[in-house]
């Protein structure tokens, strides 16, 4: 998304003593945070299409009862890869891409703290993606265990499972290095005068997210390592006969997995916290409480993991504790929702595409969060666990939450990245189609779940047929609407109305003080930071 700014910097910024490589070498060897951010974003979009195509295979199979197109084994493999690719390949890299592009610009740094390692964080993703997708073609196929990889089922899988395990290791390295880079950049490279409590909120969300990543990715790596030794070296961590316990894996997985969902959600909160004030033309309400809420969410997220395991037979006291702890998370999340709402209150609102997506996020994420609260009640969850109600819940928070927020950020910063305004008409069309089809696809899944339709099945009883038809139609509509964004982005990269340095009159922050497109090297010397651009 940066091809034109390439032209922009080439003339002006050749004062660097070393000549930059051009062509493919530029991208492969780059140490520039903007190049790397661009690569992250393109990679994540490509993965989104691949993971989305897989979800369309699922939805096609689920269009009607009976086995139509794929075998049950293949269905399970697509299910696993869909989730792994969407979570680790699409959503997380998208927000890392935003972090790369925006954090140095927001805090007035010349680049990321470790620009070379930054490049490695990105280039670790393709090997992981190769391992994951190649696993479809090896004997036995990709893992058909769901993204949760529960043993003993995962012990039964073929070599595709080993490829997934190593892919997870590599993704973990990438995330940890990326996070260390982000934490260091934020803590050490802020321009003078920008205290932590004056820092843009997106940086705050990433600071906490990076902490969650550094603390939880190694846990996942440990879990899959034990899986690997159970598979090939005869250990019995997860086998009762040897004194282990399959449920142990679930504890470790979710000790990672729950923070993981906030790893996805927090940067999304960050983006929205920039977009809503900008289009309300009013400062963000309750900056300090936002920061505390982010920190609280980050902290609590380590103590609620077993709400994914209510039916595994954990003791009653455990169920009660995890229920209360989970309910507690609604409080800081609620604080954020109320702050956004109050930011809009008595503002001067306008509804360009970024704002539309931010509002879509607000409505649909809240629905997803509220159904999460229903799931938190152990007694109710025992009815809903492993049904489509859960599928509906997490697509509301992850697709309509994280993905919509990513789109809000994309449209918000696209002028800064490309130097051109995007096509507002197409952007709005993209929003409305997404909003409508998303709900057609996923709202009926609540009913399916309540009526008892299990998830992870390729075929279902007839009473579930009607809502599944609707859901599949919605999914296809939603999927194809996403191709619009490709058109919008390519148009903006290629040309269009010239973007001013501050295309949104309500936007504040250092990133808006530099020209659009942002020069290849933004702040080689720390910029002056004053209250006008401050967030808090």
């Amino acid at each position: 998304m940066q091809a034109t700014s390439h032209a922009g910097y080439a003339g002006n910024h050749d004062h660097d003593s070393h000549g930059h490589p051009t062509g493919w070498k530029r991208w492969v060897t780059t140490t520039n945070h903007k190049d790397i951010g661009t690569m992250y974003l393109w990679f994540s979009f490509a993965m989104f299409l691949v993971g989305g195509a897989m979800s369309l295979i699922l939805r096609a199979e689920l269009f009607a009862p009976g086995l139509q197109y794929v075998s049950p084994e293949f269905y399970n493999q697509m299910l696993t890869l869909h989730a792994l690719i969407m979570v680790f390949g699409a959503i997380m890299p998208a927000f890392v891409g935003f972090a790369n592009w925006m954090i140095p610009m927001m805090i007035g740094a010349s680049d990321m703290a470790f620009a070379r390692m930054n490049n490695w964080s990105f280039w670790l993703l393709p090997p992981a993606a190769i391992l994951l997708s190649a696993s479809i073609f090896v004997p036995g196929g990709a893992p058909g265990t769901g993204w949760t990889l529960y043993p003993p089922l995962s012990i039964q899988m073929g070599m595709g499972m080993d490829m997934a395990i190593f892919a997870v290791h590599i993704l973990g390295m990438s995330s940890i290095m990326g996070s260390i880079n982000i934490v260091t950049t934020i803590l050490n490279l802020r321009t003078p005068g920008m205290t932590l409590m004056k820092m843009p909120l997106f940086c705050w969300t990433w600071l906490v997210t990076a902490f969650l990543l550094i603390a939880s990715m190694p846990i996942l790596a440990g879990a899959v390592t034990m899986l690997l030794t159970d598979r090939h070296f005869g250990t019995s961590f997860f086998s009762a006969a040897g004194g282990g316990d399959p449920v142990l894996f679930q504890h470790i997985f979710w000790f990672f997995g729950h923070p993981e969902v906030y790893i996805i959600a927090l940067p999304a909160f960050g983006v929205v916290s920039h977009v809503i004030p900008a289009f309300s033309r009013k400062p963000l309400f309750g900056y300090a409480s936002m920061v505390y809420a982010i920190a609280a969410i980050g902290l609590i997220s380590f103590f609620v993991w077993a709400h994914h395991m209510y039916v595994t037979g954990i003791p009653l006291t455990g169920q009660l504790y995890f229920m209360y702890a989970t309910m507690l998370i609604a409080v800081p999340t609620g604080v954020k929702v109320f702050n956004w709402v109050t930011t809009m209150w008595r503002g001067s609102l306008s509804f360009e595409t970024p704002m539309l997506f931010a509002l879509g996020f607000l409505v649909l994420f809240t629905i997803g969060g509220l159904t999460g609260l229903v799931l938190a009640m152990t007694a109710v969850d025992i009815q809903l666990q492993d049904t489509y109600y859960v599928v509906a819940h997490f697509h509301y928070v992850m697709v309509a939450g994280a993905l919509f927020s990513a789109y809000a950020g994309l449209y918000f910063w696209l002028p800064k990245w490309t130097g051109h305004m995007y096509n507002e008409g197409l952007g709005k069309l993209h929003f409305w189609l997404s909003m409508i089809f998303f709900n057609i696809a996923f709202f009926p899944q609540h009913f399916l779940g309540l009526a008892g339709m299990p998830r992870r099945i390729p075929d279902y009883a007839q009473q579930f047929a009607d809502f599944n038809v609707i859901s599949s139609i919605g999914a296809f509509g939603f999927g194809f609407s996403q191709l619009l964004v490709l058109v919008v982005v390519i148009q903006a990269v290629k040309g269009g109305a010239k973007a001013p340095s501050r295309p949104w009159d309500g936007a504040h922050g250092l990133e808006w003080t530099v020209p659009s497109p942002a020069p290849y090297h933004t702040f080689e010397d720390p910029p002056v930071f004053n209250q006008a651009e401050a967030h808090g």
Binding site: H18, R26, V28, T29, T30, T31, S110, D111, A113, A115, R116, M117, N119, W120, W123, L124, P126, P127, I130, L131, G158, M159, D162, F166, I170, I176, S179, I180, N181, V183, T184, L187, N188, L189, I214, A215, S216, M217, P218, I219, G222, A223, T225, M226, T229, D230, H232, F233, T235, S236, F237, A240, A241, G242, G243, G244, D245, L248, H251, D525
Partner: protein, 284 residues
């Protein structure tokens, strides 16, 4: 050597091929390992190829970093970045160990007592809640690894290596290069001794104690935790060796020597983890 620290710009490295080389190395390593574990031909070669590329990458990349450091391109702010990063990296390593310690804890406090409880008696009759345990289906007996033999010696070795590395640091700060180099050598020696004893211990376990990776959860947790720790000691010794070579070449100043400190922190971390291991694996 003076550093124009606060005035110079933050160092941003020029484009570099090493990250990509590193990624290729990891892809090869992973593919090779997958092939080998599934007994498919040529996996070994792919794996070795991966190690070779990895080695090239490490030499190239670290060579570059050392060159930049010696070329005084890192100002104080960069130095602070390194410190922060190293601290967070060690934290991530701690969390990696937490996964394995957590597994051990869970198995001893939850899984084994549960399997031996009256509720499960219908499945595993006669299984008793004792540690060490190879699980209810264990057949042949094994002997546990006792704390007060090699493990105790190893504890002493590692603890003294923590002292020697600190002594080396004092040497560096006081500009006593001799003390720095001897301190480092002693540390490496102690580390290597530790590893040798651990290899001996493993051989003993396999050949005389019938204690193997496959010996139920006791074998699993024992070898996973000590093995993963041993791997970290190996890394630590390697890094210490690099630092020793650099020290002998006259790198580092009394004021600026992050590389030394980073490795020393890492070594202390490995040390502390060992104490944890000693207590929960061997002793309790």
């Amino acid at each position: 050597m003076s550093h124009p620290a606060s005035t110079s710009r933050y160092f941003v490295p020029e484009p570099s091929p090493w990250p990509l080389v590193g990624s290729i190395a990891l892809l090869l390593l992973a593919s090779g390992a997958v092939l080998m574990m599934n007994s498919i031909a040529n996996g070994g070669f792919v794996l070795i190829g991966g190690f070779a590329v990895l080695a090239i990458m490490l030499f190239g990349w670290f060579g570059r970093v050392i060159g930049e450091s010696e070329g005084q391109r890192y100002n104080l702010q960069v130095d602070r970045s390194f410190r922060l990063a190293m601290a967070w990296f060690i934290f991530s390593e701690v969390m990696f160990f937490v996964a394995f310690f957590g597994a051990l804890f869970y198995i001893r406090v939850v899984a084994i007592p549960d399997l031996a409880s009256p509720e499960q008696a219908a499945l595993w009759e006669g299984f008793r809640n004792v540690w060490p345990s190879a699980g209810p289906a264990a057949k042949d007996p094994f002997t546990q690894m006792h704390a007060w033999g090699i493990p105790a010696i190893n504890t002493l070795l590692l603890l003294s290596s923590g002292v020697t590395v600190t002594w080396a640091h004092w040497g560096l700060v006081a500009n006593k290069r001799q003390q720095l180099i001897i301190g480092l050598m002693l540390t490496i020696l102690l580390g290597a001794l530790f590893l040798t004893l651990q290899v001996y211990e493993y051989r003993e376990a396999y050949s005389h104690l019938n204690l193997k990776m496959t010996t139920g959860v006791y074998g699993s947790t024992f070898f996973m935790l000590t093995g993963f720790h041993g791997f970290h000691v190996t890394l630590g010794v390697t890094m210490l060796t690099v630092i020793l070579v650099r020290a002998m070449k006259g790198h580092f100043t009394a004021e600026r020597h992050f590389a030394f400190e980073g490795v020393a922190w890492y070594w202390h971390f490995v040390d502390v983890v060992w104490l944890g291991l000693f207590v929960v694996i061997y002793w309790l």
